[in-house]
């Protein structure tokens, strides 16, 4: 049955498999070892990630909500019309809700990422360059929130900014306004106060991560060049601007990319603080209200493709370090 064209790769596959099972050369043996070492991870990745993700993509095109049957692109059609309807001037008459949540995710993620990376650079700089007392303790304290889930970060914001929160009490005393006017959490969704509260909630999770990504690049800075610049009369700011910053620029780009990813994936904080509808929050609404699994899957597929493409393309294009 097999023609010559088919038999060539098949034959190569067969000899490859044979050399894995019964290796003859040392090179074959080491290839068999690599295969054996990678196998458990690939099994987990297949059944834990690839199969579920493929099912999710298939589900987004299913005609039925309760089983995978039929093929329809209705969910994507609704999704993309909604995205287009949110674009001003496009002139499409549809409910722009999905366009809005995507826009919210992007601008809010970008704003919080920028703020956390700027603060992260300052903190990493201070920790690395200054002789601060109890530096080890400071590092431990700043890294502590990395272990806290988003819902706990939200609770921490309630402790600071809730209607009986610590800072709210202080502000109430100083401004004379009631706690309802100055509290940043517990406000109606979408108000400026509520979004500011959520902003701090995002920072709570992202500043420690950004700081630790940047500490890695600070550890590799050439301190000789900095000292030379200082001894030639450069001010600390000039030294930072012209000597340190060019060296840590790849680290900053990497931190921006990875922190932005984190920002897009935050869910628990939004679920508790409910200030702004972002994509992750929309998932829980799709599933808890009406169990619209096709729509949730379609949105998840678009979201997943975007994060993967964004991460890999930007890390490749900027040649930033992948791991922190």
């Amino acid at each position: 049955m097999a023609t010559r064209d088919e038999s060539a790769p098949l034959g190569r596959f067969r000899t490859g498999l044979a050399s894995l099972l019964a290796p003859t050369t040392e090179r074959d043996r080491s290839r068999r070892r690599i295969a054996a070492l990678a196998a458990p991870f690939l099994v987990l990745a297949t059944f834990g990630a690839f199969v579920p993700l493929a099912t999710m993509v298939r589900m987004s095109t299913s005609a039925s909500n309760f089983a995978i049957e039929g093929l329809t692109l209705a969910a994507y059609e609704r999704l993309f019309t909604s995205i287009l309807a949110a674009v001003p001037g496009a002139g499409i008459d549809a409910n722009p809700v999905y366009g809005e949540v995507i826009w919210n995710s992007l601008w809010f993620g970008a704003a919080t990422t920028l703020a956390s990376v700027v603060i992260g650079v300052a903190i990493a700089h201070g920790l690395e360059k200054y002789d601060l007392p109890r530096e080890g303790l400071l590092v431990t304290l700043i890294s502590f929130p990395i272990s806290l889930p988003g819902i706990v970060a939200a609770f921490m914001m309630i402790v600071w900014f809730g209607k009986t929160g610590l800072l709210t009490n202080v502000l109430t005393v100083f401004t004379g306004a009631g706690p309802n006017a100055v509290a940043l959490t517990g406000q109606p969704s979408g108000t400026l106060l509520a979004i500011t509260g959520l902003f701090f909630g995002y920072l709570y999770s992202m500043i420690p991560r950004a700081t630790f990504l940047l500490r890695g690049s600070y550890a590799e800075v050439n301190t000789d060049a900095e000292e030379a610049a200082r001894s030639l009369g450069a001010t600390p700011w000039q030294t930072f601007r012209y000597v340190t910053l060019p060296q840590i620029r790849p680290g900053i780009v990497g931190a921006l990319i990875l922190t932005f990813r984190t920002a897009l994936a935050i869910f628990g904080t939004v679920l508790v603080l409910k200030a702004l509808s972002v994509v992750t929050f929309r998932f829980s609404q799709e599933i808890s209200v009406g169990f619209d699994l096709q729509m949730a899957s379609a949105l998840a597929t678009v979201f997943f493709v975007f994060t993967v493409l964004f991460t890999f393309l930007s890390l490749r294009l900027t040649s930033a370090e992948v791991a922190g």
Binding site: R33, I34, L37, P40, F41, L44, A45, F47, G48, A49, V51, L53, T55, M56, A122, I123, G126, L127, Y130, L132, V139, T140, I142, S143, F144, I146, S147, L148, P149, G150, I151, V152, F155, M156, V159, T164, L166, Y204, I207, A234, T235, P236, W237, Q238, T259, A265, F267, G268, L271, S284, I287, L293, A296, A300, F303, F304, T311, V322, A323, G324
Partner: protein, 317 residues
């Protein structure tokens, strides 16, 4: 990148130019300002950040021992009621909403009440860590020790959390609808936390001369599997241990995935936290969250004893 002004040479202030131009000797107003107060501003920023991050943690912990919070600050110290209710140890009305009641386990003469949700969650996380050990240690060794086709891609997939928890949760809904929640959660935990294990183990492997260790053992007659299991792995036990501790803690608190996937059966710890935060009085929620703080503090202390500096492994979740 050079500006026309820098070529002409008649603009005195090249300080505001692009990165390529030579900075002026005169530091400018901003430079003088930063020289004067820069260090103090950054030190203050670090302090403010630490207070912002840690202040509410301390306050929550302290408030969990308070009797009531009606005024500006909580009052009525010291009571253990909140803790008892959060742990499900007291037989009040609210206790049934606590950690799902408690089972007593007999341990040599004494019976210890064990909160069910807490112990189940710890067991689930432990299951995830067990899978992670089987999966993470070999892959970390493969990508550190060998050069092969696709190595860098495999490395990237192993150390980068590619799938966000909430996406994986949605993907699990239709794929494994008949799995018991516990099994689905365990698989998900292991996949989501695998990067932390791989990174920790890899950093151990990178500090060893793997090729030499392996070749010495082989030349002394050990087979390759024996070399891997009895020479390479024990040498990396520090990284394996700290990776396991980090994975376990993060898995116990994984919320996004658990919230979507959980359907029935005993609740994972993170959902118990969520229920406390959204439904319960502040002080009891404070006690519930403090349970997790205690776990993290113990874990951080353990990590320090293995030589790691806290939860600094990996940057993203």
């Amino acid at each position: 990148m050079s500006t026309p002004g820098a070529d002409a040479g008649d603009t005195a202030d090249s300080n505001t130019g692009t990165g390529r131009s030579v900075p002026a000797r005169d530091p400018g107003r901003f430079g003088r300002l930063s020289a004067a107060v820069g260090r103090r501003v950054i030190t203050a920023l670090i302090l403010v950040t630490v207070v912002f991050l840690i202040g509410p943690v301390v306050f929550t912990f302290v408030a969990s021992f308070a009797g009531e919070w009606t005024g500006v600050l909580p009052s009525g110290f010291v009571t253990l009621d909140n803790w008892k209710q959060a742990l499900g140890l007291s037989s009040t009305l609210g206790a049934s909403r606590g950690l799902g009641g408690s089972t007593t386990i007999p341990i040599i003469g004494a019976t210890i009440p064990l909160p069910e949700t807490l112990s189940l969650s710890m067991a689930l996380a432990l299951g995830g860590v067990f899978i992670n050990l089987l999966v993470g240690v070999p892959i970390a060794y493969a990508v550190t020790r060998y050069d092969f086709y696709g190595q860098s891609w495999l490395n990237t997939f192993a150390v980068l959390p590619v799938v966000p928890g909430i996406i994986l949760g949605i993907a699990f809904l239709r794929t494994y609808p008949n799995f018991p929640s516990a099994v689905a959660l365990m698989i998900g935990y292991s996949l989501l936390k695998a990067p932390y294990m791989v990174l920790a183990v890899q950093s151990s492997f990178e500090s060893m001369d793997l090729r030499q260790i392996e070749e010495s053992a082989r030349s002394l007659g050990a087979s390759w599997p024996r070399t891997f299991l009895t020479v390479v792995v024990p040498n990396a036990k520090q990284g394996i241990l700290s990776g396991a501790i980090v994975c376990w803690t993060l898995a116990a608190a994984e919320f996004n995935f658990s919230y979507i996937v959980y359907s029935r059966g005993p609740k994972p710890f993170s959902l118990f936290l969520f229920e406390n935060i959204s439904n319960n009085p502040f002080l009891r929620a404070a006690a519930a969250i403090s349970i997790y703080f205690l776990i993290v503090v113990v874990v951080t202390a353990l990590l320090r004893s293995t030589g790691e500096r806290g939860f600094s492994i990996g940057g993203v979740r």
